[in-house]
């Protein structure tokens, strides 16, 4: 395989993707905490931010070689987010 400065290019790409995932996860952690709780409908914003962390984790799982887990979570996570938003809309927001 082609080497860049004595390091395999695949290793460099994997490391870069893991670092990008780390940055996205840190940003999601900051974003999920920074909004006040008394803001109206803040939960939709938090679900949206959680999507970033989900995709970052799926990328990390793909790089780590767990393709089946990544695919399973990629399929399940939209249902998950929709279920929470739907339950909040019909359950708690209307009270």
């Amino acid at each position: 395989m082609t080497d860049v400065a004595g390091i395999d290019i695949i290793i460099i790409i994997k490391s870069a993707i893991l670092l990008i995932s780390s940055v996205l996860i840190i940003l999601a952690a900051i974003g999920i905490l920074r909004y006040r709780d008394d803001l109206e409908r803040v939960i939709y914003a938090r679900i949206h931010i959680l999507g970033i962390a989900d995709v970052a984790c799926i990328l990390a799982l793909l790089v780590l070689g767990e393709y089946l887990l990544a695919a399973a979570y990629f399929i399940l996570t939209p249902f998950n987010s929709h279920a929470i938003a739907n339950a909040y809309y019909y359950g708690e927001e209307k009270r």
């Binding site: 490391s15 780390s22 996860i25 399973a72 929470i84 359950g91």
Partner: protein, 113 residues
Amino acid sequence: MDILSLSEYILMGALAIFALATIRITTRKTIAMSLVGISGLSIAVATLLILVKDIYNVGFCTDIATALIVLGPVGTIAFSKVLKAEGQAEENEKEELAEGSDQEVTDKGDVND
């Protein structure tokens, strides 16, 4: 230490911070907020376990991660259904009460006539 191990350790740190953030969200007062927190925590812990398996060669971590990834969303969806049904039942109850009070008002009007 090679570059891949270094980035794995950095990801581990990021996931630990994210897990703490989601635990904080889980302790907020509404149920939906707890669901968001738990959902984030489950994927963070699952990815952390896969990293542990990759770095320290602990075989059973994959099984726990699989269980977390499959059962986490399933539990969240099931709880969301309960929350939605509860909210809708409460709303129906309110509507019935409102209809009942309207009927009482019309009945009283009839008596006065």
